[in-house]
């Protein structure tokens, strides 16, 4: 059943709350600022509660069902994170208070910087970026600043594999740089010959995701890094897939110069509607001076009974602030909590289980779906949602049908280099039993595709809203619910 709009419950004069008489003198508002046509709903309290509770029950979230959305790492958001983020010392601190009165917050940020340095093998970390793509922009701006600082002004090109997240080329363009796309080879790696052909003294650097969006570890990563470094370029790591390798491989050890972490993926803070995100960046020694500032520094170590003294410091060649105040602090508390709970061996174990779960699913589905780059995967894999014998069924139909079985669809039509792509990432937090049910459902859907294709083509059948008209939705945007345009009302 569809829930009506809050406006549909509105009745003139109805009130949800009685405001007390003001206990301060009243002042007349300027007449030119007053309006009489303000269209707000008038609803009683219980109706409001029921309306929003019902809406919340229509939500799909990681708290209700499995969410195998590739490259998004929709893992469980532990409740303990919420407890710590609500501790009054964290939750009630103000971004403008004197840092000397918020030393606990600074210590947490400092420790988180240190751990992210250790996990990535980096010389410095800034916690400022608000999410992954923001971390990308931060990284590319630092790379640009590094070359300019050396007086090397001819570097304008950013190399990006064709399996990259769309945010990579968007970031490079936003930084005013030119994107050069690199092909992939038959095993899903960067095509080394193509890379060598474009590496010259006009290259700012390479943006690489490792493991890549096919869920595959770059088999020639050392040669890729050497080739780019040899022409004077830098390596940007997109850390979206970091959940596959924490405690196993350090990007800094591979020669990466900068990498963004997604705390809302790898480190269990809420992702997708539950945010905000947080995208700290780690950098090699040669970029450390360019980090966006301020970062947290240890001004004086503790001594005897005296606690250490932390403060905000700005790196000497900083590209400046990327965000007001101190990053999305509440997310930093949650990620810190997650790291403290699991410890070094636990974090590695989580990555190992994420990889194990993905390979378990892959092994169950291989006989039923075509896997175009079929080798041992990392935390995710990509299959084709199409069979030559039933050309009328597409990846989108499979995704819609999954909703009938109470699973969130995987990522569709990405990466672009796979035909009718379905990109599946189970994460480490799904149990074997859930993985078995998910695999069984996908196998059943593959059968249905062959025996009753219309069942897929008209799915979903059990969702509150049936198949959407995506073409009309994209062409005729209704961006405001009031007043409703006549043509939309007519539908």
């Amino acid at each position: 059943m569809l829930e009506p709009l809050i406006y549909d419950y509105s009745r003139p004069g109805r009130q949800g709350i009685s405001l007390p008489e003001p206990d301060v003198p009243e002042t007349a508002l300027p007449a030119d600022l007053l309006r009489t046509d303000l269209d707000l709903p008038e609803v009683d309290q219980l109706t409001v509660i029921r309306h929003y509770t019902r809406l919340s029950q229509l939500n799909f979230s990681i708290d209700t069902r499995m969410y195998p959305l590739g490259s998004c790492t929709m893992k469980y958001n532990p409740r303990l994170n919420e407890d710590t983020a609500r501790l009054p010392g964290f939750a009630l601190s103000h971004p403008m208070q004197d840092p000397d009165t918020a030393q606990g917050n600074l210590e947490l940020m400092y420790q988180l910087q240190e751990w992210l340095k250790e996990i990535g093998g980096f010389a410095g970390v800034s916690l400022q970026p608000a999410a992954g793509a923001h971390g990308e922009l931060t990284g590319v701006l630092m790379m640009r600043a590094y070359h300019r600082d050396r007086g090397d002004l001819k570097r304008t090109k950013v190399l990006i594999p064709n399996s990259a997240h769309g945010t990579n080329p968007a970031t490079a363009s936003m930084a005013g740089l030119e994107v050069v796309e690199l092909p992939s080879d038959a095993r899903g790696n960067i095509d080394l010959a193509a890379l060598k052909a474009v590496c010259d003294d006009t290259v700012v650097g390479l943006m690489i995701t490792n493991p890549n969006t096919l869920g595959l570890f770059e088999e020639h990563i050392e040669e890729v890094v050497q080739t780019v470094h040899a022409c004077g370029g830098l390596i940007y790591g997109d850390g979206a897939n970091m959940n596959a390798i924490v405690g196993v491989v350090r990007p800094g050890d591979l020669g990466f110069d900068v990498l963004h972490y997604n705390l809302h993926k790898t480190f269990s803070t809420p992702h997708g509607g539950g945010g905000p995100g947080s995208g700290p960046v780690g950098v090699s020694a040669r970029l450390a001076d360019f980090l966006p500032g301020p970062v947290v520094g240890l001004l004086e170590p503790g001594q005897g009974g005296r606690p250490p003294h932390y403060g905000f410091v700005t790196p000497p060649k900083s590209i400046g602030r990327m965000k007001s105040f101190w990053g999305n602090f509440g997310m930093l508390v949650r990620a810190y909590t997650y790291m403290r709970v699991h410890g070094a061996s636990g974090l590695r174990g989580n990555s190992e289980n994420a990889v194990l779960n993905a390979n378990y699913l892959l092994s169950k589905l291989r006989a039923h779906y075509h896997i175009p780059y079929d080798r041992v995967c990392k935390h995710e894999f990509v299959m084709e949602g199409v069979w030559p014998e039933v050309p009328g069924v597409h990846a989108l139909d499979i995704s819609k049908r999954l909703m009938d079985y109470s699973f969130h669809p995987p990522t569709n039509y990405f990466p672009l280099i796979v035909h009718e792509a379905l990109m599946i990432e189970p994460t480490e937090t799904e149990s074997r039993e859930t993985l078995d049910v998910f695999a069984d459902v996908l196998i059943k859907i593959a059968e249905e595709a062959h025996t009753q294709p219309e069942l897929l083509q008209t799915a979903p059948h059990t969702a509150p809203i049936a198949r959407l008209d995506e073409v009309s939705a994209a062409k005729q945007l209704v961006l405001c619910c009031r007043p409703i345009p006549a043509w939309a009302e007519a539908r």
């Binding site: 030559p388 989108l396 672009l416 035909h419 995506e470 073409v471 994209a474 062409k475």
Partner: protein
């Protein structure tokens, strides 16, 4: 699927119809079919100059946004304004009313690298597995 023989095709799925030193460019039937319903076309401006293989706009569908690349070097002399309100023309008639831009060819060198209809058709078949 339709592969007119009077056109040349690029690996990136654009077609080009050369008439003297001018040419018309669009995306192939295969490309529109892969993209599915086109909902927006980002077109160049008249007068813009591009090198062969350079991105001169993009086509957006409910599935993906895809760059379009100019098969030969040229300067844009006209764009298909009808696509602004009716992007579906690309799906309905990719080689006719769904054309994207007309150009004055400034360097025809890259023409030699393009495929004839038969070769392009084979290239499309290959990509369907």
């Amino acid at each position: 699927m339709n592969f007119p023989t009077d056109l040349k095709y690029a690996k990136s799925d654009e077609w080009i119809r050369v008439e003297g030193d001018t040419a018309t460019v669009g995306i192939s039937d295969f490309a529109q079919n892969e993209l599915s319903d086109v909902v927006y076309v980002d077109m160049p401006s008249v007068g813009d100059a591009f090198t062969a293989g350079q991105s001169f706009g993009s086509v957006e569908s409910v599935k993906a946004a895809s760059e379009i690349y100019l098969p030969v070097a040229g300067t844009v002399t006209a764009v298909n304004d009808a696509l602004a309100t009716k992007p579906e023309l690309i799906n309905q008639d990719p080689y006719g009313e769904g054309w994207i831009a007309k150009i004055k060819v400034t360097d025809a060198g890259a023409l030699a690298d393009l495929m004839a209809a038969a070769a392009y058709q084979a290239y499309c078949e290959e990509r369907k597995h």
